[in-house]
Assembly symmetry: C2
Homo-oligomer: 133 residues x 2
Amino acid sequence: MLKLSKKVEYGLIAVRHIASLNNQISTVKEISEKYAIPSDVLAKVMQRLTKGKLITSHQGAMGGYTLARRAEEISVMDVIAVIEGTQVGIAQCFAEEPQNCSIFHACTIKNPLGKIQHNLEHVFNSMKVSEIV
Amino acid sequence: MLKLSKKVEYGLIAVRHIASLNNQISTVKEISEKYAIPSDVLAKVMQRLTKGKLITSHQGAMGGYTLARRAEEISVMDVIAVIEGTQVGIAQCFAEEPQNCSIFHACTIKNPLGKIQHNLEHVFNSMKVSEIV
DNA sequence: TGAAATAGGACTACGCAAGTCGTATTTACA
DNA sequence: TGTAAATACGACTTGCGTAGTCCTATTTCA
């Protein structure tokens, strides 16, 4: 409950890793070994980060990944959004299709949870990869 | 990902309900019908809230539940902790047995996530049931 | 041309959330 | 004193999402 997914953790670690090496090209193999992350899983994460334009892929031998933006311009929220493909929502009300919640009409806690939701979004948006030293 | 469980939502709704009726005795049937919550599920939630001493049960006919403390003294965190029975942790590092994380030793994002964790805890601790109008 | 790298689909395993069911126990009140 | 209304609680089922594995295709450097 209320946990980040491993994919997001892996993504943050990877992006931070590249940033910490001054954007030097890095491979899945290198990162997965260094941090003991299953390489197949990390590979998919990197592909999503690429599609989300947070990093740039370099195919072929001697290839790998570099950041697509400066580390100061990549927020934790960016990484989450790109990897999960959905909005962060602590309840259905704040994700897509709020109406799907079985309780929607009678729910009395949407507003208070909304405050918490906003707070979370703010924290995730304001924390940048460059701060993850 | 990062979602509260339905049980916690139900618990918050129930506690708020009782508080909004000035701590008048309320039954599972009444609450489950009013908010369209499955009564069996709600019953278990109420039992946990009782064990956690947030509400008081009154068995037998004409029984039900009342708050065990003033609404100003019940935080959202209290409800979560009692219902889930575990610490809120956005990653394994912040739950029980941090060492179980497959990445623990090499993880580079414990500190930044810790900031987010603390922020979350603060928000949940400071929001009281009395504020959930 | 071969090796090193990304791209990406298909599949499995597992755990947890959510809900259901059945039964026991307590208590007010007719 | 019996019955109905209520809580107590364990066992079970189901479904879904997470995490991970496997396999193959494609790209590119040397």
